[in-house]
Amino acid sequence: MKILMTGNEAIARGAYEYGISVAAAYPGTPSTEILENIAKYPEIYSQWSPNEKVAMEVGIGAAIAGARAMVTMKMVGVNVAADPLFTVAYTGVRGGLVLVSADDPGMHSSQNEQDNRYYAAFAKIPLLEPSNSQECKEMVGLAMTISENFDTPVMIRTTTRIAHSQSEVELKEPSERPIKAYEKDALKYVMLPAHGRARRLAVEARDKRLSEYTESVEVNSIEMNDPAIGIITSGISYQYVKEGVPRASVLKLGLTNPLPKRLIRDFASQVEKLFVVEELEPYIENAIKALGIKVTGKELFPSYGELSARDVREKITGVPGPNLEVPFQSPMRPPVMCPGCPHRGVFYVLHQLKLIVSGDIGCYTLGAGAPLEAIDTTICMGASISGALGMEKAHPELAEKMVAVIGDSTFCHSGVTGLMDVVYNGGNTTVIILDNSITAMTGHQDNPSTGKTLMGQPAPKVDFVALCKALGVKRVTEVDPFDLDRVKEVVKTEVAAKEPSVIITRRPCALIIKNTEKPVEVQECTGCKVCLKLGCPALSFDEESKTVLVDTSLCTGCGVCTKVCKFNALRKAGESNE
C-alpha cells in the first residue's frame, strides 16, 4: 500500500517496520513529529526525555542492553547530546542504534544553521541522508543493518524539507523486534582510558571496513545521462538537481560518511564538468577537492539558506530564469503570543520596569518582538540563568536590574544546573520560571513537570518550589501571571533582594485549556492606546472612532488588558459600570 507521509512520519514507520524497541527524544522543530508518530505504535517503548543528552543516553543504554533503539532531535540538540555520542562511537552497540538529526537550512525555526553532517565525520560514525519519505523509512532499516554489522551508532540526517514534506511511501509488514541477551563486557563498554585506547583502534578498523562498504552500498549510485554535466549530490538537493537539470548525470549519495572515494573518482572520470550541489557547508565538496578532483560547488551556491530547483537550473546551466521582482510591499506578519497567553503580562511588566532580560528558548522568546521588546539575549536552551549569572559577575550592579526568564520545559532541560551555579557561586540572580505546564512552541508535548508521559501514562510532576529550595534558593514565590499588580510587586522585591530568588508564574498555555471566560468589553475608551502596548492580537485601534476595538472571535477574556487600562474602559464581561 502506498500513502503520503512526511519524512518524520516515514521515519516513525521505519522504526515500526525495522524492529526498534526503544525510542527517546526531546522535542525540537523539525524533528518533533517522529516521536509523536512512534508513540502511536504501542509495540515500541517511546519517551520524551528532559533533554537530548538524556535521550541519547537512554538510547545508548537500550542498545548496549541489546534492543534496537532510536534517538531523535533537532540539529542544535546534537550539541547537547554530543558528549555521549562521541564515546558510544568508541564502545559500539549490541542492538542497532540510530540518531536522527533534523537540520534546519533557512532557519525556519532555529537559532542557528549548523550543518550536522560534520558531526558524523567528527565522531567517525556512518551518516545517511534520505532524499524523500520512502528513503526516510528505508534508511531506518539500513541504519539498523549497518549499526549491527559494523558495531557502531548511525546518524540519519534530514532537513526541514525532508522532515516536513510529504511524498509517497510503500508500507510493509513489520519485521521481528529482536532483543539480544545482555552480557557484561567491561573492556568494550567501560571507557576507562586503557579500554578507550583499544576501542580507538577498533574505530579506525571499522572506518576502513565502512570505507569499502560505502563504495558498493545501493544508496550510493550513479545515474548516467548526458556526460557533459556531472552532479554529485545528496538529501533534498537530489530532488532539486533532478528537476532543475534533468539531463545531467548524477552521483546520488545516500551514505555520506565515509564517502565512496573510488565511486566519486569513477564518476568524475566519466563526465566533462563536475559539480557538487549541497545545502549549507561544502561537506562533500571539500572531500572531493581533497582527492585532487576539480569540482565546482560553493563558487555557485551559497553556504547558507535553502536551495531550489530554480537555483540549480540557473547556476548549473548559466541560463537565468525570468526576472521576478516582488511587486508589492507587504507588512510583516511575525508569529506572536496568542490571545490569552500567560506570558504576555509578565513581559509587559518587565518592559515597564525597564529590566535587562536574559532570555531562553520557547514561545516566550516572542517577548523579544514589538511592542514588548523585553528580551536582551537568547542563545540556547538553558542559557538564560547561567548567562544572567555571567552578566552579573561582569557588572555586579546589574543584578538589581536583571532577570532570567525560562519556561517549564526548558528549565527541566538545562535550567536546573544554571540555577545550581547561581546558588553555588553566590549570585543574586532573579529567575522567572514561566510555567505553562507544557512544551508549547513545538506543539504541546509533555515534560517532567506536566504529569503525563509521551505514551499517555500518568507521571509524577516535578515540584519546582521544592526543587529550587533543595538547590538552596531561599526566596521562591509563586504568582498568577494574570495578576499584573502582584507580578510587578514580586519582581521589584525579588530583583532588589541580595540573594538568588525564583518567581514561578503559573497558568496553563492558552491553547490547551478549555476557556470559559467571555470576551473583554469596551466602554468609554479615551483612545490612549496603552493597552496596545501589550501586543495582543485581539486588540486594535479604530481610527474613525478613536477607540480600541476587541476582536471577540480572538479575545479569551484573560483580562490582562483590563489591568493596564488606566480609565477602566476595558472590563471583564459582566463587571458593572460603576
Binding site: 514534506s165 521582482e325 508589492f328 507588512p331 510583516m332
Partner: protein, 193 residues
Amino acid sequence: MSKITNVLLVGVGGQGTILASKILTHAALAQGYQVKMSEIHGMSQRGGSVVTQVRMGEEVYSPVIDPGEADFIVAFELLEAYRWAHFLRRDGVLIVNNQKIVPLPVLIGKAQYPATIINDLKEKFSKFVEIPAYQLASEAGTSKSTNVVLMGTLSRYMDFPEEVWQAAMEARVPAKFLEVNQRAFVLGKQFDI
C-alpha cells in the same frame, strides 16, 4: 495533466491551510498523480504567515514551488495573497478569500495594512478570483470551514471528478464536521465568480 501542477496555499496560522492541503493531496493521489507537499510550521503556528505547497504530476521531484511557477495560489487572507503573489505564473489563477486578518505590526500602529490589495492584484493578474469564503463558511454552518470553501472554488479548475473530492473529504475531515464541510465545499464550488 502531463506537466506538473503547482498549488500554493497561503494564509495565517490557525486558518486551516494544512487540512485543505490534505484534502487536495488525497484527491490528487486518488486521481493517480505523484504528489509532493511541503509545509513550514513551528514558529508560524503562532499567528504567523503560513505557506503550504502542493505539487502533482506524472513525475514530481522537488516538494517546493519556485517564485513565478505556481499555477494556482489559494490565499486564505488578502495580505497573504499580496505577500505571495510573485509566486504565481503570469497566466496562473489567484483565488483570494477577501478576509482581512490584521497583523500585529499594523495593530500596534507600526505599519499600514495596504489599502489597494484587490485592485493591485486584479491589475496584475487576469485570472483573479475573489471569494467571500469566510461568509460562505459561516452560511454553511461554521467559519472554520473557510478552508474547505476555498477547496470548493479550487475544484472548479482541477480535472478531478466530484466523487474523488467527496472521498478525500470523507478521509480527511473528522466525521462530526463532515456535513458542514460538504456544504462549505458546494458553496465554494458554486459561488458565482
